[in-house]
Each structure stands twice: as C-alpha cells, then as structure tokens.
C-alpha cells in the first residue's frame, strides 16, 4: 500500500513537473507568421516622398492560401531611419480595415491586419500626416511577382492555442514516431522514474536487493552488483 501511494505521488509530481516545463515553454505571444511561399529578394517601394504628405495606393493581392484559419495580411513599412509620423490605413478587399498610428509601427517592422474576407484580391493603403518619407518593403513571390503584403496566419493567443502551436511544432519535420506524444510521454516517464529512483536510493527504509549499508568499511562478504 505504501509502495502504491509512493508510485501515485511520483506519477502526479512527474506529470506536474512536465506540465510546468511545457507551460513555461509557451510563447507569451506568437507573431503572425507567413502562410505562403515566396522568394528572398526584398525591394523598398517609396510611396510617400521625402517631403511627406498624404497618398493612397492600391495593389493587387495574390489569392489567399486555402484551409488556413485566422488569416491576416502583413506589411512592412519603412521610414528611412526616421521616426514614424504618418497614420497608415490598410483596407483589404471590401470589408477589412485596419489603422496604424505612428506609435503602432516601427521602421522596417511588421504590421498585421486580420482578414475575414478570404476572397479579397485588392489591397488599398492610405497614408496621411506623414512628415517624411515612407516606403513599403515588398517581397518577391516564387514566380517573380512583387508582393506589397504577405498572407500570414494570426495564431491564437489563448493558452490552448499556444499549447497546440508548441505541440504541433514538436511534430513537424520529424518522422511520425518522433512526434510530440513520444517526447512528452518519454519525458514524463523519465521524470517519474528519476523521482522514484532518487527516493529509493536515498531512503534508509529501502532494501535495494539486500544491499550492505556500511560501504567499503562493511565487514564480511560483499555481494556483487546484480544487473
């Protein structure tokens, strides 16, 4: 009965410690990440001149990737090492609109606008109140086409969403037996077994197969270690 209680305690603590390890590994937030393939080449397209001002430009959007939940469109404004001053309004398709004040973006940083209308094929960008130059950093698609905005997936910010993100990432690019269930099961087992071993090795009440307790000074015949 005592052994059963110890096993139960070790199992509960082992699972709790592994849970704590996974929880502490969860990202506080997950940045929106790219959902379509593209090339590496980048080009800065200046849409507001050095003197600043206001401007509206419309770009054509590539088709949104299918079967991707929580789609968004990511853009990278650049202000040529100057402090952002203009307010950027992004309109995707007919319905989805986002406004970014100067305090909400940085030079070369990414801004993301959630998109609910997956069939959207146009992107309208309006800038007003800019006191200096402003450009959009465009990426090149695989086919060589220049893209002002990239389709991204906006990950869920809930604990469940973040756990799912981490667990799925633990399975991607690995052969199927080495996915997250194996990693977590093995680690839980290792922690539980180590706890049990630690208790057994350090507890004076444990017999350890009739081990002599006196060590090298013990008198009499010393049994060989059983493997």
């Amino acid at each position: 009965m005592r052994k059963l209680a110890r096993m139960a305690m070790v199992t509960v603590v082992g699972i709790a410690l592994t849970g704590a390890a996974v929880y502490s590994a969860l990202p506080e937030r997950i940045s929106p990440v790219q959902a379509t393939r593209n090339g590496d080449a980048e080009t800065a397209v200046k849409i507001v001149g050095d003197g600043g001002g206001r401007v509206t430009r419309t770009f054509k959007l590539p088709p949104a990737p299918g079967a991707t939940p929580r789609l968004g469109l990511a853009l990278r404004p650049a202000t040529y090492l100057k402090r952002p001053t203009g307010t950027i309004t992004v309109v995707v398709g007919e319905r989805d609109r986002c406004t970014f004040r100067p305090s909400q973006y940085t030079d070369g940083g990414t801004i993301t606008c959630p998109v609910t209308q997956t069939g959207a094929d146009t992107l309208r960008i309006s800038i007003r109140g800019a006191a200096g130059p402003l450009a959009l950093i465009e990426r090149q698609s695989v086919s060589g086409e220049r893209l002002a905005g990239l389709w991204v997936q906006v990950p869920s910010r809930s604990v469940g969403g973040r756990i799912r993100f981490v667990l799925t990432a633990l399975s991607t690019t690995r052969p199927w037996p080495f996915s997250w269930p194996l990693a977590l099961f093995c680690f839980v087992f290792a922690v539980c077994a180590s706890l049990w071993l630690g208790l057994v090795a350090l507890s004076r009440s444990e017999d350890l197969d009739g081990a002599p307790t006196g060590g090298v000074e013990a008198d009499g015949e010393i049994p060989a270690l059983k493997l």
Binding site: A20, A21, S24, A25, L26, P27, I30, V33, Q34, A35, T36, R37, P65, A67, T68, P69, T110, L150, Q153, F165, V166, A169, L170, S171, T172, T173, R174, P175, P177, F178, W180, L182, A183, C186, F187, F189, A190, V191, A193, S194, L197, G198, V200, A201, L202, S203, R204, E206, L208, D209, A211, P212, T213, G214, G215, V216, A218, I222, L225, L227
Partner: protein
Amino acid sequence: MVMIVLFVATMARGLAFASALPAWQGPDEPVHYAYVERLSTGELPPLDNTPYTVFSPALTASVQRTLTAFREHRPDRPLTPHAERLLLTREPGGLSTAGSGALGAQSYPPLYYMTLLPAYWLGGDTATNRLYAMRVMNALYGAFFALAIVLLLYEVTRNRRLSVAAGLLASLPPIVTQASATCSPDIALTLFATLSCWAVVRLRPDAGRADLAVAVAALLAMALTKPVGVFLAIIILVTTGWPWLRPTLRRFRPIYRIALGALSLLVLWFAGTRAVNIAAAASHGTLPTIRFGMSYLWQYYLPRLGFMHPAFGRSVLTEPLPLWGTWVRTGTGSFGWLSAWLPKWAYFVAIAGTLCCVLPGIAASIGHPSSEVARTARRAIFGFIAFVFVLHLTEIVSLTNGTGLVLQGRYVMPAIPLLGLAFVAPLVHFSERTRSAVLAASLASWGLVSIVGFSTLISFFAT
C-alpha cells in the same frame, strides 16, 4: 529492478530530447551522419575527401527540407506549424547516398560509426528517418552510460545506494541528455571512458586474463571512438590504474614513476602530433608559443591583465570569461547548432548542485586520507586535471595555427567517471544521513536543471 528503471529512464530522457530537437541540430550532426553513410556504401577509413567533402543528395535534401528551409531564424520565421505543413514538401525516399568525405570527422576512428550502421540500415529510405534511428542508438549509449557509472561507483565504494544515486546524477545534466539525443560520438566516448575506469579500477596485481582483456578492450574502444580518446585512455590507465601498475617493491617505485611518466609523455606526444598540427604551431617559435599558452590559460580562468594581449576574439563563449562561456554554459547544456541557452539562474543551480557533491567529497577525502577510496579520488582528480590540460593544449595549438576556439563544455563529458571517482565516491565515508542529504541536494538541483533544459529545448525550437 533499480538498474532496469535507471536504464529505461535515461533512455526515455534521451528519446524525449531526440524528439524535441529538430533534425541536424546536434553538433556537426550532418558530418557524423555522412561518416556512417560512407561506411554504409562500403567505403573504409580513411575516407576519401578529394577534392573536398560532398554530401550525398539524400543528406542534402533532408538538411534543406528540415533545417535550412524551416529552422533558420529569419524575420519571417518561425512559421506556424500549420504554415509549415502547408509549405513542407515531402522528402523523397531512395535518393542517392553517394558522396565523399565527412568534413572534420573523417579523421575520426570508425568504431562508433560502425555501431550505428544497423540503425542506418533499418532506419528507412530517407536521411531524416535514418538520422532519427541513429539517435535512438545514441539514447541507448546514454542509458548504458548511467549503468556503467553505477558499476564503477559500486566497484570502488561497495555501496548500492550511493552507486545508484551517482548513476542517476550522471544521467541528469542536459548536456549528457543532449549527447544521448544526437548523432555524435561524445556519449559513446563517455560510456567507453566509464567502462575503462571500471575495468582498470578492478585490476589487481594478480589480475586474471579475463580482467586484463576487459580492460584492454574498454581502453581500445575509447581510443577507437574519437582522437581525444587516445589521450584519455592513457590518463585513465596511468591514474586509476596506478595500484595495478606500480611495482610491489617500494624502493623501485620512484624510478618506476619517472619511467611511467616519461613513457606517458612520449605516447601523448605521439598521439598529439597525430591529432593536431603541432608542426605548424612550432613554426611560431617555442618560447612565443609557451608565452602565448600561459597568457591563454590565465585569460581562460582570470580577467586579462593590462600587459597581456587578448588571447581570444570576443564571442558568446569568451564573455565575460571562457571559463563561464565554455565550461559552465556549454558544459551544462547548449542544445545544438543554434545553441538554445538555459536561463541564467539555471547555471547557478547547476553550479550549486555540483558543489553540493564536490565540497563534501573533498572534505570526506581529507578526513580519510589513507582509505583506498580517497586515494582513488586523488588519482582521479589528477587524471581530470591532466585531461583538461590536454584539451587546453589542443586549443593553444589550434589558436596558434590561426583556427578559432575549439573547446566546448561537451568535451569534458568523457571525464565524468573521473569526477564521480574524485568527488562522489568519497561520500561513502559519511554517515548515511549526511550522504543522503548531500546527494538529495545535488539530485534535486540537477533534476531541476534537466527539466529546465527540456523546457528550453521546446521553447527555442518550437517557437
């Protein structure tokens, strides 16, 4: 039962890390894989490297698919798992395994790589699958290493509790688990070093042929696993094997010591000239090389003095001192090519966990200076210092030749059995209550660091 649980627990921890660590993230993993691949195609060492190393199409495709395209930390990375699944192309099976050379590993002895061949053959038809099969073999090496530590400590102390606790303790450091989770010969060398210590410690002046054969086999296995294994084999033989090597007549012992020391130096010199390019270093002149070496050793462990030239370029490994960057940070856990560092507090916990054993171990040795355990401990300390000095010599030669820093904490792993003999074995002299308290503190500290290591691994490579 206890030994089975220790074996399975260590194996499970290795598999958990192997699963969490993406493919090819182990130190030089593609290079070690390439060595096995060359052996599998019938090529025997020394491997052909003309005109230069060429990775096979199978290996290149796997690296491109699992590492280059998806794991580089670029502004648009990491991708969400969903996006990865959308973009990840299927790795074609049955690609050609023809290539040549294995970069830095091609001068390595073949033993470890030959033991991986069954896993390579059974692993499947893609390089990624074969790599993970080889990682399972390394997890096996790690599990046997934990058992070997138990055997070694039991041989010296005849105390089961202490031996099992030592085996568990040796299996906990994240760097040991990482070595058990990646395709790299470090954990095999550590296992063979432990078996060598065990086999040599068992030798008596009247040793039978079977004991001698086991010791020779273990020492040979170490020498045939990694070039540095030759040095360590000599060090283990001379230090832990001293009671067996020394003559029975006391008056011959001083002459014998000198002769043995000279012979060891000769063999070390021969092995050293084979392992590192000493001739190139010697071209700088003996005195300047010695001066640089002394300055290097000072700067490794102590702040640089005003009159000294900097011995190292600034890097994450040399700031604030290489002692911290190399031995502590990469010695505790670094997790692969991209080096996911543990949180800073974890290093202090690891240091505290180590000191929990080291300080009482020293006290126990001093308290019982004439016991055989304390004598073995002193020899092991001497062996450990000699091994670290040999590692430093290789780096001094490397730096003199214009190569960068070569030392990493994982290189000290094969000396873990010496550390066990030096600091854990003497704990047998304490009362059971004191010993349990000391070991509990050490196990708890390293257990925590192990859990933090797993968390760091997940956090870094999954997000």
